[in-house]
């Protein structure tokens, strides 16, 4: 199958915005995110024959992107840890009096999460993926995704300074409403 002369190509271009947004949630800066997207496109187009038409192209592309990201992360672990340390040092997030949080502060807090927490929150909470789709992309069980979302949300609440005595009331994963919500 040709990547250029089929609906694959059209759908791929349509998915670029969400692919970029997913990459941005994992990468440490916009340039790195777009490099991830570029590498993903090269890999996808080189392996287009492995894609089964009619199946979930978004999940396939997201999987390629995350696998590539984690591959790079393993190679550059030291630099990443250094970058995260600098980021953490800059963080000073306090919720407003009305409980709202500035979007830029939210982004800084979000970047402090570990990558697997960032990815599940983005997949389930923002990209519109179902828990099942997120599990397919991340290569794990649906239950793992649910518990990871719960832990990620709890950690983000803590970083944002929103945690209080109600923290103990976070439901266990099996008590979460079974929808793709964060």
């Amino acid at each position: 199958m040709s990547a250029q002369s089929t609906p694959f190509r059209t759908e791929l271009i349509e998915l670029l915005p969400s692919l970029r947004a997913f990459a941005r949630s994992l990468a440490h800066n916009p340039a790195q995110a777009d490099d991830l997207v570029q590498d993903t496109l090269v890999k996808a187009l080189a392996n287009v024959d492995r894609f089964e038409p009619g199946t979930n192209l978004r999940a396939w592309l997201f999987t390629i992107l995350r696998n590539h990201y984690y591959s790079q992360l393993r190679k550059a672990k030291r630099e990443v840890e250094d970058a995260e340390g600098r980021l953490a040092a800059r963080l000073s997030v306090r919720p407003e009096q009305d409980g709202s949080v500035d979007l830029e502060d939210f982004k800084v807090a979000f970047k402090q999460l570990q990558p697997d927490h960032r990815e599940v929150l983005t997949l389930v909470g923002a990209s519109g993926c179902s828990y099942e789709e997120a599990a397919e992309i991340c290569g794990c069980a649906v239950g793992t995704i649910k518990s990871r979302v719960n832990r990620a949300r709890r950690k983000l609440t803590e970083i944002l300074g929103l945690d209080n005595e109600d923290q103990a009331l976070f439901p266990e994963p099996h008590l979460l409403v079974d929808t793709a919500s964060v």
């Binding site: 915005p17 949630s25 979007l103 939210f106 909470g125 519109g128 929103l162 008590l175």
Partner: protein
Amino acid sequence: METMAPPSNNKDTKGKKPLVGPSVTAHKALITRNLRLAYDEVAGEPIPNKILDLLAQMDKIEGKGS
């Protein structure tokens, strides 16, 4: 897309300890709202030229190869 379940007024739950406190529900809503804002912000950006250029280059390679 609505993601947050509204507070339950079901009488069957009356007297039972709620699973999620109101502030926790508000925190979840806040996180979901900001996640989507951040996501949509990027998704709404124009595709960078370097990515479009890459696709165009691959078109040329494909054209030569076929």
